[in-house]
Symmetry: C2
Subunit: 317 residues, 2 copies
């Protein structure tokens, strides 16, 4: 079963907050419930968020109001808006249901193509470091983005080892490791700050991860910690790859400084158990300037940062 | 009370594994118990480890054997060996007790001087990012190293804000934040991977932290994550300061690649609660090449990486 499914008029989502301990599916009955699931990160991963929101809007009796509710769930990932705009074109519930399915099918096709395109690029790399979760649970389809490429490499018989950044504070690395274990791909979880150690030691051939919103100039927002990995990759002359479908590009934004970055609550970091008086700052995303990106891997091919403008042209055509 | 004390023939240590929740002191009755406390990180921080080991050796009935036991507790911090060698010169328990006290007094004086020297250097910086814990609990004396400088700045009336890296997996940042709160110094805990975000945003004026072992060429070992911070500081043109007493220098080692780095158990990362089949890699330290260091702050003054050789000459004289 996929992490986001639409079965007999029910919006079913895999509750990612329970992973890797429990595979529990939630049936969500309204746009408010879907919005809450996105906020709490029961649904997470830019493409999966888009699909879930699309289904929520499809079944809505009040699509104008629910569009606003859903769009405000999380600010950074652009797939959410792109999916909502796509589904909102439907005038009736039936039309919107068709569009929501079509959107998911589009993501599925895009991710399969990303896996193909990325696998050829990664052929020379045996040891890949990744961050956060970009697997099938994050996309709501069969292949993930960055992790979809790794799955494809495995399917083609390649030996590959993955260093999995645990991704504090929400530990999405646990989901990544769980998915890799299911795929029988050797991997080890590391604390995020150990990435530099493994890169500097020469043990990592490439860093590859996803994106939540890519601006027209190639600057992009992704999970907190991405920028540090980009700087470490550059300093140590290893490639830094970003795998994302066109639905994660935002050609209306010309550079990264215009991307709104979500700040989340301090409890995610310091929890209830911490000493009462301590405060925390919890940016959920950071911006990585385009110049750090070796290649963007999309369903339309592989692009240098300078080439992102030309993706925009394909996208609009 | 200090984090390591010798009171009425008892080796008392503050159990740092219980911080910031509980201030519990342990009375340790043998070199084995002290060695276990160092391994489990009930005593941690290079200078505090040295002092605790010194007292353990002082009271030993079998100093040759206990020297070996204590030295093997943790491999990376050189203070441990330096303190043991100093105390081992005593032929009797009484002599060794005097030497162990003298060692602690020396660390105390050194840290007070580091605080003085560093405060003048940091005068222009209002926002400092630090990693791990370098406060009084880590040194076993009144002033910490990097955090001792921040304490001194506060005492001199300076407004200062500290970004505290939480320091996965053992969360020594919680101890740092607890110490800063006691000193009424404003601070926020951040996940380690958010350091890049705050540095790139221009919110951090300097990175300052401690060291576990500094080689003769200025390469140094410190808590995992230090190297990444050094690279981020360089990339963003902010100073990167290392505060450490001469007892943390190892002039017998000519470069960082000769420093033995401790690998710790994967349970520190993935815990008992994680999915059973997941593995983790847990290097406790990394090496930062000397070229990333703006200045070393010691009790003998402030040195560029190229000047570390001259510290060696002072040290031997």
């Amino acid at each position: 079963m996929l992490s986001v499914e639409f079965i007999e008029n029910q919006r079913k989502i895999l509750d990612q907050t329970k992973l890797p301990f429990k595979e529990r599916y939630l049936a969500l009955n309204s746009a408010e419930e879907v919005s809450e699931a996105i906020k709490s990160m029961a649904v997470r991963g830019a493409p999966a968020i888009g699909i879930a929101a699309g289904y929520a809007l499809a079944l809505s009796d009040n699509p104008e109001k629910d569009y606003v509710t859903l769009l405000s769930s999380r600010p950074t990932a652009v797939d959410l808006k792109n999916a909502l705009d796509f589904v909102a074109k439907g005038k009736t519930i039936e039309e919107r249901k068709k569009l929501a399915s079509l959107w998911q099918a589009g993501v599925s096709e895009a991710c399969a193509s990303i896996a193909e395109n990325g696998a050829s690029l990664l052929e020379k790399h045996n040891n890949v470091l990744t961050h956060c979760n970009t697997g099938a649970v994050a996309t709501g389809v069969e292949y993930g983005t960055a992790l979809g490429i790794i799955k494809k490499l495995k399917e083609s018989g390649k030996d590959i080892f993955v260093y999995v950044g645990e991704t504090r504070p929400r530990m999405q690395g646990a989901i990544t490791s769980w998915e890799l274990n299911k795929l029988k791909i050797p991997n080890s979880v590391i604390v995020d700050s150990a990435a530099g150690y493994f890169i500097y030691s020469g043990k990592v051939d490439a860093v590859m991860l996803g994106a939540d919103r890519i601006a027209a100039n190639g600057d992009f927002a992704n999970k907190i910690g991405t920028y540090s990995l980009a700087v470490l990759a550059k300093e140590n002359s290893i490639p830094f790859y970003v795998a994302a479908p066109l639905s994660s590009f935002d050609f209306s934004i010309d550079s990264g400084d215009k991307i709104k970055l979500e700040m989340r609550g301090e409890k995610e970091i310091i929890g209830d158990a911490y000493a009462g008086s301590t405060s925390a700052l919890n940016p959920a995303f950071d911006i990585t300037p385009a110049r750090y990106v070796t290649r963007f891997i999309t369903e339309k091919g592989i692009f240098s940062p300078e080439g992102v403008g030309s993706i925009g042209k394909i996208h609009r055509s």
